[in-house]
Assembly symmetry: C2
Homo-oligomer: 238 residues x 2
Amino acid sequence: MYFGGIFPFEDQMAGNTFHKLRDEIENGIVTGTFEPGERLDEVQLAARFGVSRTPIREALMQLSAIGLVEIRPRRGAIVVDPGPDRIFEMFEVMAELESMAGALAARRHTEEDKAAILESHSRCEHSAEREDTDSYYYDNEVFHYAIYAASHNGFLAEQCVALHRRLRPYRRLQLRVRNRMKVSFSEHAAIVEAILAGDAEAARSRLRDHVAVQGDRFSDLVSNLSRREATGAGGQRR
Amino acid sequence: MYFGGIFPFEDQMAGNTFHKLRDEIENGIVTGTFEPGERLDEVQLAARFGVSRTPIREALMQLSAIGLVEIRPRRGAIVVDPGPDRIFEMFEVMAELESMAGALAARRHTEEDKAAILESHSRCEHSAEREDTDSYYYDNEVFHYAIYAASHNGFLAEQCVALHRRLRPYRRLQLRVRNRMKVSFSEHAAIVEAILAGDAEAARSRLRDHVAVQGDRFSDLVSNLSRREATGAGGQRR
DNA sequence: GTCAATTTTTTTGTATACAAAAGAGATCAT
DNA sequence: ATGATCTCTTTTGTATACAAAAAAATTGAC
């Protein structure tokens, strides 16, 4: 599947080593291979990917610029651990950006946008019916990307994609919550309706709620997080 | 003047060479020392700053990650030239983020926030009375930062600051437009009123209008841009 | 045995070196 | 003279080398 023009840095896709490394490490962070707070050893990473330290450092520089990694002078790079409060803040901003995209989409969507939205929406439906969380997770992403694209604001779309990616791990946790998938789908339906009807304000508020709920759900999970922290793994910033 | 906790990357302030270089080059781009479309030669920059290519490259990597520089594989780095349409898109997003910050500020501001807002607001007033564009430009920035801070969403504040910085050169052009400064100040007054009254929706819409580039301002922007392009080194993306 | 100071080891940050690719320029054919 | 191909130059991308700083470990004092 191809998301033309939505991905940031698309022009750099022709992978120089450092670029591939950036994606690999970023993916590792988002996936959980590298845990929050974990130290990213340059030589270790270099060995792992079979390259020298130079491109590794360049990749880490880029990741630090987008806030996924923190480079402490002379003390190496660690995976940023946003902490519950910061994650909640990010959801708050995500809700606003998404709702903006939805409002713009309601006013500006073309026939192709409409087709893409409906297509991804029905994919979500199938996945929801099959109760296939993994599949729904992916389809849901495509659905949201379709709305970003329909906003016809490329910069906004890039921002949304970037933030969506960063929130991925926390969103993923949520889908496992009982019945969340079907509720999510019915929210989608209402959003699609508003966008296609050209009702910008309805699209805005429905999308805001749709995303904000995830933030709320997340704060429910915060207790789990802090419990986990007490027991072992994690480790807060600083 | 100190904007505690607002600047992104604040924790990296302890300047390793590459970090200082990043700031220097970023500043050069925002200031106009490096023009949009200009090629950033690594050896040239290295000579200029008296360092080797390595930290220069690391700085460029970071700048490319935040979208100020484009690194074309095997073809070097150039200063990104957003082009009028993209700039417009960025202002559209800025308007939404600012209005969000205003809405949150209306609901969440503390006494200290109130003091900071009023203080910066009255500084703007003095500068506007003296018709001191440069001074107003600076005070205006402080005013907006005070609102970001009052939103009590650190992530949002960072996003706002980053985008505000990127739009700096274009905003600056706008202040030169006749009478814009005094109009701007009266808009500020209405915004302050809404925030202090706790009227989130009024704050939101007033800030949106204040920031959005609409009507005449858009054509002013475009004509300024094309003039600059004609005279300068310019050159569109791609 | 515990704590502090010093030495050793690791690791980061920057410089340099080298290979490969892109760009510029010259040569040759038409 | 114009256009295309080949060569030479410049520039990027990655590896390696080295210096300085931080972390770890050893030694020594109490």
